[in-house]
Amino acid sequence: MNVHSQERDKPSEGAQRPGVAIASERHVAELRRAFDASFAAPPRDAERSGELVLAIEAGGQGYAIRLSDIDGVHECRKLVPLPGSPPGLLGLTGIRGRLFAVHALGSLLGLPAANETPRWLLIAGGAEPVAIGVASIEACLEVNPADLVQVEAMDGEGHVREIVTLAGRARGVLALESLVAIAKQRAGDHREGAQ
């Protein structure tokens, strides 16, 4: 994916193999600082506020998601598998007295190790929501809308619609509606008459 080639192309200092771990630690530290700083910052008026994005990881890859695209973030509790499920449909879970079908984000993106047990669930899909399981949430950051760079046909499936650079590292911003659509299509949903 181009997103990752971009990441590799980024001149992160000491990009040699032995330095990868150090760079990664630094990267996490920067994200943490930014995360903490976002709480310390004084409240701004709505017009000047930036876009909140979640830096997440699924299938061993880093991505970003606009906070405005999701309806909630919950810790993943017990998953009950369903018989004859398509790949990626991990099962059912209960969140505040409501049932959700949990799909692994990695599987929706077609990544290997896709059925990893998720730690977090992102709720998306509007009136007919599904829960999308992600391995970890690294940070919640505010970015300048201008830093979200539109991409055109950058990935074959069309799940990445923008690129954002967080703490010096470029990440693909996922378009959740297409992922939710795939989840429902895989499950073979025919929710006729649901208005």
Partner: protein, 688 residues
């Protein structure tokens, strides 16, 4: 559609429903000024509302009704039945116009059944609150959430009880230690621990009492909230009466419709499904049941046919009993129609009940002609389908010349259902209790392997046995059942299956929730419910389980046709034995014919070539020994082996059987399925 039009649509529907009921009431009490006044007021309100939203056509029609009713206000003339019919036709057109405005956009639309349920009767408006079902559901959801919070409290209580027990143990140990010296330390510790125990006991008492209260209160609130979303049956009576009346009018018949129990309440989508079923029942009654006036008079009946609907609450079920005083169902005609449609051979002896049950089969009609209303054979099978979908039942009784009664029994609510909780491989699943016919312990030896899978005996049935794992994880993540497991015997329609589980956990009431979006439609899962921790538990779907089981049987049946075997004739005067032997042999892949007497058996034996006779000894008329001897003497039958299956166990009997020419002698008391199937295979010259 803007908001105002939404309001209009809902109001107009309500008014039309109310006007229909009131006009029908007015027809019965033409001098009742109160009803007339109410009709006038409703027509007037509808006219005004229609004009506000510029629905001039509806406005004009409402005006016509108002004008037409006005002259009766002074009481000089009384309204006639024909006049009411004309007004009802106008109302029907208004209803069509309202339908054209589009479907209701209420949030309740997520439940399509609920949105078509008729509104509560208009005169209830002052006393009843109109509540959106979606809002109600949100309230119920909140309450469930609150109940879930009790779960951890319960856990706390258990922990406290445990601590209390431990404290007791420690004190005991210290008391024992006193004997060995250091008395002072022991006493000090003992006092402290006593104190701990006291405080723990307090905690237990308080938490326990509080929990009990919360649970009681919440339970009360939950059941009250649940009844708020129930609709009175009265809401559908107008529609049913109208259907009876319209059908009668078109067929030129004279019919009165009455009902009792309209104040019984049940869930909106249950009620709307029942209404659809009852529409078929009522139309059928008018069309096939009620005779034409001349015929009725000739039979000494009153000229006007009577259809009465009795609604009665029976615990968590509601029974709708629809009775007509028409011509009743001619069992012989049903048998003929069933034979014509290939639903029965026509040769078998069907008792009254079995014959009447045929009426519910798809495509069966005894009507001489197909009318606009019924006679296509698609009415009563719909009734059966609705009853089964609602986890209810339907019964029919009829007396030729006197009339027919159809009783539909459905649960008040589908949202809360009693279930049997079972454990398999560390996970829990729920089986709706209404489908459970029984449970039993099963050992490995009792699971009989047949060509179409395993079977176990339940009563005198050989029921297909499936480990629950094969249902819940068909991909086969191996969890083997223990040597002795439990079987839950489930019936849906005519199919029985036994589900093998590790153990039974008990019964409970749960709120059944449909599977969420994105979960697909997994086979055999009806939905899910929450446990005390708020985690989902799968609720199995017995009809889907039996469909899957039936499909499996069909597949294996087709695959085992290949080696052509001769059929087996089972002769026994006991129905139970016939059925038991038939089920065992069919499970083993044989085709089986049955006879209830040796004489009938002989006739069948001459009419068809059999590979084996299985015969009982003690039967009225010719006995099994005679049958064996007779067939041995017949050159065309002497090569067909005979197995005698009997309760006569003495050596003398065995010798008698052997002398008659039987190839094998099996004593019923020592009956062993495996041995039986092996013997059959041996005699038929095939490997079992």
């Amino acid at each position: 559609m803007n908001g105002l039009e939404d309001y209009f649509r809902s109001e107009a529907n309500e008014i039309v429903e109310g006007l229909t009921r009131d006009l029908l009431a007015l027809e019965k009490n033409p001098v009742d000024a109160t009803i007339l006044a109410r009709c006038l007021r409703l027509a007037h309100t509808l006219k005004g509302a229609a004009r506000v939203v510029r629905q001039t056509r509806i406005g004009e029609m409402a005006h016509t009704i108002e004008d037409a009713l006005a002259p009766f206000r002074d009481g000089e003339d009384t309204i006639t039945s024909d006049y009411v019919s004309d007004l009802l036709r106008i109302l029907e057109r208004i209803r069509e116009e309202i339908t054209k405005l589009g479907p209701a956009r209420a949030p309740a639309a997520e439940d399509p059944g609920a949105s078509v349920a008729p509104s509560p009767p208009i005169e209830d408006r002052l006393e009843t609150v109109r509540v959106d079902i979606a809002d109600m559901d949100a309230l119920l959801e909140g309450l469930s959430e609150a109940s879930i919070q009790i779960g951890p409290l319960n856990g706390g209580l258990v922990a406290l009880q445990h601590a209390l027990r431990l404290a007791g143990v420690v004190r005991q140990e210290l008391e024992l230690g006193q004997a060995t010296g250091d008395r002072g330390r022991g006493a000090r510790l003992g006092a402290t621990i006593t104190e701990i125990a006291q405080s723990l006991a307090h905690a237990e008492r308080d938490i326990g009492a509080a929990l009990g209260r919360i649970e009681r209160e919440l339970g009360e609130v939950q059941s009250r909230a649940a009844t708020l979303r129930l609709l009175p049956v009265g809401a559908i009576l107008g529609t049913l009466e109208l259907a009876a009346r319209d059908t009668a009018e078109t067929l030129g018949k004279n019919v009165s419709f009455s009902a009792r129990g309209g104040d019984v309440r049940l869930e909106g989508h249950v009620l709307s499904a029942v209404r659809d079923a009852l529409l078929h029942v009522v139309r059928n009654a008018v069309d096939h049941g009620i005779e034409a006036s001349e015929e009725r008079l000739a039979q000494g009946k009153s000229e006007m046919g009577r259809i009465h609907l009795d609604i009665e609450r029976r615990g968590r079920m509601v029974a709708f009993r629809c009775t007509d005083d028409g011509r009743g169902i001619d069992a012989a005609a049903v048998r003929r129609a069933a034979a014509r449609r290939g639903l029965a051979t026509g040769g078998e002896e069907l008792d009254e009940e079995a014959t009447l049950a045929l009426v519910f089969r798809a495509g069966l009609t005894t009507a001489a002609e197909v009318t606009e209303f019924s006679g296509r054979g698609v009415g009563l099978d719909v009734v059966r389908e609705v009853a089964s979908r609602l986890r209810g039942s339907v019964h029919l009784s009829s007396k030729l010349g006197e009339g027919t009664t159809i009783e539909i029994e459905v649960p008040v609510s589908l949202s809360s259902i009693p279930v049997l909780s079972v454990m398999f491989g560390g996970s829990t699943a729920l089986v709706p209790l209404d489908a459970v016919r029984g449970t039993r312990r099963v050992t490995q030896a009792e699971r009989m392997q047949g060509p179409d899978g395993e079977r176990i005996l339940f009563g005198d049935r050989a029921v297909p046995f499936t480990p629950l794992g094969a249902v819940l994880a068909p991909e086969g993540e191996g969890h083997d059942l223990p040597q002795a497991c439990s079987a839950v015997i489930v019936q849906s329609g005519e199919t029985w299956i036994a589900l093998g589980v590790d153990r039974l956990l008990g019964t409970m009431d749960v709120v059944l929730r449909p599977l969420p979006p994105g979960a697909g439609a997994p086979t055999a899962v009806a939905g899910a419910a929450f446990d005390a921790q708020g985690d989902p538990l799968l609720v199995l779907d017995p009809p889907a389980l039996s469909r899957a089981s039936a499909r499996k049987a069909t597949t294996t049946a087709t695959t085992r046709v290949a080696p052509k075997r001769l059929p087996i004739l089972v002769i026994d005067d006991s129905l139970t034995t016939r059925m038991l032997e038939q089920s065992i042999l069919e499970a083993a892949g044989y085709e089986v014919d049955l006879s209830a007497s040796a004489e009938e058996g002989l006739r069948k034996a001459k009419a068809r070539k059999y590979g084996l006779f299985i015969v009982d000894v003690e039967m009225p008329g010719m006995d099994g020994f005679e049958f064996t001897a007779t067939t041995r003497a017949d050159p065309t039958l002497r090569d067909v082996p005979v197995i005698i299956v009997t309760s006569l166990a003495t050596t003398k009997d065995r010798e008698k059987g052997s002398a008659a020419g039987a190839s094998a002698y099996i004593v019923k008391g020592e009956f062993d399925q495996k041995h039986f199937v092996r013997k059959v295979a041996e005699l038929l010259g095939v490997a079992s």
